[in-house]
């Protein structure tokens, strides 16, 4: 038994370090706050510079015309790039969304077994893949096989990138639907596929849309896979067997040119791209917060 006297004795071995500890605590708080500031500054700078340098480049010509000759004083516009990005997003979604949603349904409704775990695991691994490898893959599978760069190859690559994102977000959205919805349906003798399509998908609608928007934002910004698949072009879409342009590619090409007009166009294109990507991401947050009141379930990732 430690008596009162012994306690007093033991306490003599306590160092009087309170003020040091409190000072260290304060210092750490400052450092940690500094980390937050360090992270936010680049974001602010990027947004600032993109707006500052990109706005002057905007014009009707900019949005609607093809690029002019390099280095000339008629720089033209980035019409084909905008068109290309929109077409790529559309076509990739045509493949990526149905397959992804179906995959998500599988994982959520039928996936509580070893096969499901394995698929889930590899799905998440695929979601983190270097997209340049996926671009190479699309190049070998499509471009080399068919002999030309085209929107098909680009769509192939982008749909692979979209896929794991949509699968995962669909599964999570479906998981949020209460079990009771399913049980009610089955109890009434309704077949599984009707329960899923009519009840579950409609309840999980906002989650699904959220996932699709995130995936679209992601592939909209992808550059690396496009290098190997659509190659880039100065003309508007001219056929399913022709190379074409897209915003990220155009930005890259423009950044390599030594002309001020090219750089200005590059910033303008960057502004358009970032507006698309950020509004999708912010829109996602807004929808999600309205439905679920905050929280960060879906993590955002950009194209590489």
């Amino acid at each position: 038994m430690i008596t009162i006297e012994q306690r007093a004795e033991f306490r003599k071995h306590f160092r009087n370090n309170i003020s040091i500890r409190l000072a260290a605590d304060k210092m750490i708080k400052g450092i940690v706050l500094g980390c937050v500031v360090i992270a936010i500054i680049p974001l602010g700078s990027i947004l600032l510079e993109v707006v500052r340098n990109g706005v002057p480049a905007l014009s009707i010509v900019f949005f609607t015309q093809e690029p002019g000759a390099i280095g000339s004083d008629q720089p033209g516009g980035i019409g084909p790039a905008i068109q290309g990005t929109l077409m790529l997003i559309g076509m990739s979604s045509l493949i990526g969304v149905p397959v992804g949603v179906l995959g998500g349904i599988f994982l959520s409704e039928f996936g509580n077994n070893r096969l499901g775990h394995m698929i889930r695991f590899f799905n998440d691994v695929l979601a983190e893949f270097p997209t340049i490898v996926i671009g190479l893959f699309a190049f070998i599978m499509i471009v080399l096989t068919f002999g030309y760069f085209s929107i098909l190859a680009g769509t192939f690559a982008l749909s692979i990138i979209m896929l794991p994102i949509i699968t995962r977000t669909t599964e999570e959205a479906l998981k949020l639907v209460p079990v009771t919805y399913r049980e009610a349906g089955y109890a009434l003798g309704v077949k599984r596929w009707i329960v899923i399509t009519k009840i579950l998908l409609t309840s999980a609608k906002s989650g699904l849309i959220t996932g699709i928007m995130l995936a679209v934002a992601r592939i909209g910004g992808e550059t690396a896979p496009l290098i190997f698949t659509i190659l880039g072009s100065d003309q508007f879409f001219s056929g399913f067997d022709q190379p074409m342009d897209a915003l990220p590619l155009r930005i890259w090409r423009l950044s390599l040119l030594p002309y001020d007009t090219a750089t200005a166009q590059g910033w303008g294109a960057a502004l358009v791209l970032i507006l698309i990507v950020l509004s999708l991401n912010i829109g996602v947050r807004y929808i999600f917060m309205r439905k679920h009141g905050g929280g960060g379930r879906f993590r955002i990732k950009a194209g590489g």
């Binding site: 500890r21 605590d25 980390c35 937050v36 992270a39 936010i40 974001l43 700078s45 990027i46 510079e49 993109v50 149905p98 397959v99 179906l102 995959g103 599988f106 409704e109 499901g116 698929i119 889930r120 695991f121 590899f122 998440d124 695929l126 983190e128 893949f129 270097p130 340049i132 490898v133 190479l136 070998i140 599978m141 896929l163 999570e172 077949k191 599984r192 596929w193 009707i194 009519k198 009840i199 910004g221 550059t223 690396a224 890259w252 950044s255 590059g266 960057a270 791209l273 970032i274 991401n281 905050g294 929280g295 960060g296 379930r297 879906f298 993590r299 990732k301 950009a302 194209g303 590489g304």
Partner: protein, 322 residues
């Protein structure tokens, strides 16, 4: 509340549906297998010609007649830039996560987390653009030149005239890019630490920082490591920003010997040289070979990361979509 009219439904369609869903899910596995297969077959020529020296050699010459390919400097470049990015990015990310989970006032938490996650939404190409036209000048003038002039002669990795398009700049931008990933997962992991742990530390008279050190960090250590490895995976696979900032060196001069010298990573060499490689050429096979190595490295890192993180976050939403 809407009423849904339900009919029983045909059992045959049900079966088809289930099979269809299974096929869609397994598509993912098929893709991964196909990727491996195609990368191997597409690069077969280079393995046949160079063998192991493709992994160990540093000479890189695409001129027909004296072709030689060695990817060692690029592999080193990937690891050095990713490693540096981690060195800078992980502490900052942990700091951000600590702020968001332990210190930030309630009203600030969600908006601040959101702003940081927006960093992850910015496409790599825009990081690159900003990097070459804005950030690079600051890095060069405020960090590289002073460091180089003071220590350049004594410290081997600070030598070389700094132009700003080099390993250092690429690594710093890479760090900025992986911070949102690491910090947001870390934050979730820290929040998951039960409050009873913190209370035990507070009871002993600990300061907030001591509570963090004693109760939060040990509890969440493996998850934090997993989050960092996920960041490493992202850094390894990053292409455009690195390509635009690293200076495009090839061959033996691409070895990362100094922070202020140009370099090359696996992903950047592919992006840089692909336009010059013709179909069927050995050059192309070499680039695909680099892609194969990158694939193996990335998939290895990502698998480890997923295993670590999903184990910790299992109770929440299963594995992590990052």
């Amino acid at each position: 509340m809407e009423t849904i009219k339900l009919k029983g439904g045909s059992p045959l369609i049900d079966k088809i549906f289930k099979i269809g869903a299974a096929i869609a899910a397994m598509y993912i596995l098929a893709i991964i297998v196909l990727i491996v297969f195609q990368l191997i077959s597409g690069s077969y020529d280079i393995w046949a010609k160079e063998g192991i020296s493709f992994l160990t050699g540093s000479d890189w010459n695409a001129v027909e007649g004296s072709e030689v390919y060695g990817a060692a400097p690029y592999i080193a470049g990937t690891f050095v830039t990713a490693g540096l990015a981690m060195l800078i990015g992980v502490p900052i990310s942990i700091g951000i996560a600590m702020f968001l989970s332990e210190l930030a006032p309630k009203f600030l938490r969600t908006p601040l987390s959101f702003v940081i996650e927006l960093l992850a939404a910015v496409p790599s190409i825009i990081y690159g653009l900003w990097g070459i036209f804005v950030f690079r000048d600051y890095i060069r003038d405020w960090i590289e030149v002073p460091l180089n002039s003071t220590f350049g002669n004594n410290v081997w990795f600070l030598s070389g005239a700094p132009f700003g398009l080099d390993i250092f700049t690429a690594s710093v931008v890479l760090a900025i890019m992986i911070i949102p990933t690491i910090s947001s997962i870390s934050r979730e992991i820290m929040i998951a630490v039960p409050n009873s742990q913190r209370e035990a530390a507070y009871m002993l008279g600990a300061t907030k920082w001591e509570v963090f050190k004693m109760a939060v960090v040990p509890y969440s250590k493996s998850g934090l490591i997993g989050a960092s490895i996920l960041g490493l995976g992202r850094a390894v696979g990053e292409t455009m920003a690195v390509t635009m900032l690293i200076g495009n060196a090839t061959g033996p001069s691409a070895w990362p010997t100094t922070l202020f010298g140009p370099g090359q990573t696996m992903s950047s060499i592919i992006a840089n040289e692909f336009p010059e490689a013709s179909a069927g050429s050995l050059h192309l096979a070499a680039l695909i070979g680099v892609g194969l190595i990158l694939f193996i490295v990335a998939i290895g890192i990502n698998m480890v990361a997923q295993l670590l993180v999903s184990r910790v976050l299992k109770s929440h939403e299963g594995a992590v979509l990052a």
